[in-house]
Amino acid sequence: MNKATTNGAGHPLDPYLRAERMPHIWCSGCGLGLVVNCFLRGLIQSRLALDKVVVVSGIGCAGRAAGYINLDSFHTTHGRAIPFATGLKLSNPELKVVVISGDGDLTAIGGNHLIHAARRNVDITVLCINNFIYGMTGGQVGPTTPLTARTTTSVGGNIDQPFNIPYLAAASGAAYVARWTTAQVIRLQKSITEALLKNGFSLIEIITPCPTYYGRMNKQRTGLEQMKYYRDNSIVKSGIDPKHAGIEFNGPIIVGRFVD
C-alpha cells in the first residue's frame, strides 16, 4: 500500500475502484492489482466516457477484476466472457466493452470463443492475464504452462506445448495484439490506451506473477522475485511476427506490440 492510502488522502485511482469492496481477495505479491492499476490509468488516458465502458470477466482470480472496478461490470461463467461481451457490444454499439480474464479462462475453456471473436473482428478489447497456471483452483497445469514447468498437476514437469497467445490471436485475425509483463507498467498502460482506441478486436497478453502457485512451484517464491525475473528477461521486439514470440521455461520473454 502506498503512502497516499495510509495518510488518509486517498489513492488517485480510488474513484475508479469499488473502495467498499476492499480488501480484495488476491494474495500478497500477486500481479493482478498491478494489472487493474495499469488498466485504469490506460483507460483514463483514453478519455473514453466512463459510463459507456463495461468490463466483462470470466471466472478465476483474474476474473475477479471486474468486481473491483467502478464501471458497469459483469462476472460471467468460466470461459464465456468473450461471447457475453460480444452480445453486449452488438446490442449496444455505443459501449466500449473490455474483457479482463485469465489465460485459462480465455484460452482453455474459452479458447474457441477467443479465436472466433478475433476472426469476426468484434470491436472489443481483451486483457488476457497470463500467470502460466490456473490460480483460483489451486495451481494446476494449463494451456500456457511452459514445457517442463511444475504445477500441482504436473509435478514432474509439464509435457504439453503451451499456446503462444499473441500468435494465436494474430493468426485468428485480431486487429491489435501486444504482450507485456507487469514489469513494464508504462508501456502496458500505453498499450491499453491504444487497444481501447483501436477499432476491432484487440488483445493484450499480460504476463503476471502468481507467487502462490506458479512461483512457489518454480523457484520464484515471491511476487518480487517474479517481477525481477520479468525485468531482467523481457526483450522488447515490437513489430516482429508473433510466431517468434513463444515462451520457454525460464527463458527470455519477448514483449511488444506485434499487430496494429
Binding site: 459510463d51 459507456k52 466483462v56 458497469d72 462476472h75 452480445g87 459501449l95 470463443h113
Partner: protein, 383 residues
C-alpha cells in the same frame, strides 16, 4: 426505432417461422444461435427479419456462446433470444443458471427432437422437459411454456418475452420438431393490438440504486449497462448491491427470493386449458404436440360413453400443483401421454400423491402417439 416490415395478417406458416415472428412482435431485436435441426429455421428467419427491424442476428460458434451472447445483449438493453434443440439445450445449461442468478430477461426456444444424445435429429421428441426444470445446477424456479400449434408458437413466444421481462429470468419455450415443422394458419395481429411488457427501470438515481433490491413483487428494477448506474453483476451469490456475499445467510436470502418470485406469482404465470373436467372419471393431462393427439383420443372415448376430461399444460413450469391436486380428489386416474419415458407424469403422480392413479402413456420419440394407444389407456383405467 422505426419498425419496417412489420407483418400482420393471416399466413400459412411453419411453427418455427411463427416463433420467429412472435419474437419480432414481442420486440426481440437480438438473436444469437448455432444451427441445429429442427430449430434452424428460427435462426434463418431471424437472420432475415432482424435487419429489417433494425435488430442484430449473429451466428455464434456454439450454444455456450449463443446463450452467453444473449445474456450480454439483454444487459445491453435489448430483448434477446436463442433457439436450439436437445444437444444445444444441454450446452446452454450453465448459462441458464447465470441468467437466473443475475436475473437476466431472455427467451430460449427448445425445439425438441428424439433423444438422448444426437438421437433423432429430424424427428420429434419431448425428452427435455425435466432438463428444462432442473438442467442447470442448483435450486431455482423456471418458467417454461408449451405450445400446441404454430399459432401458439407465435402467441407463446410473445408471452415468453413478456414473462421474462416482468420476472427477470430466462423463459423457456418448449416445443417439438412436430410443431416446429408443422405448417398451419397463423394470425399475426396488428402491432398496436399486441401487449408488450418491458423491464421495470430504476426509479432512483445511480447513487441510491441497489441492483438486486426487489420491489414488492420480489423482482428488482433493472438498469442496463451504459446507463450510468455502474452495476456489478455476478453469478456468485450476491447481496442487494450485486457484490459477492459468501455466506449461508446471503445464499438463503437470494436463492429463496429467486424461487419465490416465481412461486408466489404462480397465478399470473400458470395457464391451463381445461375441457370437461367436472364430472370426469379420467383426466388426460398432456402438453405440446401430445395434447393434440390426446384430444382425438378423448373425443373417441367420449363417443364411447367414457367420462373423460382433458387438461392441457400451456405453462409446464411452474407446475400447476394445486389444480392437479384438486382434480386428483375427484378422478379415478390421470392418463399422461408424452413423448419420453415419463417426465411430466412423475410430477402429476407427485401432486396426485396416492389419491388417484397416474398412468403414463410413453412414446420413445420419432413420432407422435397414435390416438388409439391413448384411447386404450383411457379405457383401461375407466373400466
Amino acid at each position: 426505432m422505426t419498425e419496417r416490415k412489420y407483418i400482420a395478417g393471416e399466413f400459412f406458416m411453419s411453427g418455427d417461422d411463427a416463433c420467429a415472428e412472435g419474437a419480432i412482435s414481442a420486440g426481440c431485436r437480438f438473436f444469437a444461435g448455432y444451427p441445429i435441426t429442427p430449430a434452424s429455421e428460427i435462426a434463418e428467419r431471424m437472420s432475415e427479419r432482424l435487419p429489417e427491424v433494425a435488430g442484430t442476428y449473429i451466428q455464434m460458434e456454439d450454444e455456450l456462446a449463443s446463450l452467453a451472447a444473449v445474456l450480454g445483449a439483454s444487459w445491453g438493453g435489448v430483448k434477446a433470444m436463442t433457439a436450439t434443440s436437445g444437444p444445444g439445450f444441454s450446452l446452454m445449461m450453465e448459462n441458464i443458471g447465470l441468467g437466473i442468478m443475475t436475473e437476466t430477461p431472455c427467451v430460449i426456444v427448445d425445439v425438441q427432437r428424439g433423444s438422448p444424445s444426437t438421437g433423432l435429429p429430424t424427428l420429434t421428441g419431448q425428452g427435455d422437459m425435466m432438463q428444462a426444470r432442473w438442467g442447470s445446477h442448483g435450486s431455482y424456479s423456471i418458467i417454461a411454456l408449451s405450445p400446441d400449434s404454430p399459432q401458439e408458437l407465435y402467441d407463446l413466444t410473445i408471452r415468453a418475452f413478456n414473462l421474462s421481462e416482468k420476472y427477470r429470468l430466462p423463459v423457456l419455450v418448449m416445443t417439438e420438431a412436430a410443431t416446429g415443422h408443422m405448417y398451419e394458419k397463423v394470425v399475426i395481429p396488428p402491432m398496436n393490438e399486441i401487449e408488450v411488457v418491458h423491464r421495470r427501470k430504476p426509479a432512483v438515481s445511480a447513487g441510491e440504486y441497489l441492483p438486486f433490491k426487489p420491489d414488492a413483487d420480489l423482482v428488482p428494477p433493472m438498469a442496463n449497462a451504459g446507463e450510468g448506474y455502474r452495476v456489478h453483476i455476478t453469478g456468485l451469490t450476491h447481496d442487494e448491491r450485486g457484490y459477492p456475499a459468501m455466506t449461508a445467510e446471503a445464499q438463503d436470502r437470494l436463492v429463496r427470493r429467486l424461487v419465490d418470485k416465481i412461486e408466489r406469482n404462480r397465478d399470473d404465470i400458470i395457464d391451463l386449458e381445461e375441457d370437461r373436467i367436472d364430472g370426469a372419471e379420467v383426466v388426460v393431462c398432456s402438453y405440446g404436440i401430445s395434447a393434440r393427439v390426446s384430444r382425438i383420443a378423448v373425443e373417441q372415448a367420449r363417443s364411447e360413453g367414457i367420462r373423460v376430461g382433458m387438461l392441457r399444460l400451456i405453462t409446464v413450469w411452474p407446475f400447476p400443483e394445486d389444480r392437479i391436486r384438486d382434480i386428483s380428489e375427484q378422478v379415478r386416474a390421470f392418463v399422461v401421454p408424452e413423448i419420453n419415458y415419463g417426465q411430466i407424469s412423475l410430477e402429476v403422480e407427485r401432486c396426485a400423491c396416492g389419491r388417484t392413479k397416474t398412468v403414463l402413456v410413453p412414446h420413445m420419440g420419432g413420432g407422435v402417439h397414435s390416438p388409439g394407444t391413448i384411447l386404450e389407456a383411457i379405457k383401461q383405467v375407466a373400466r
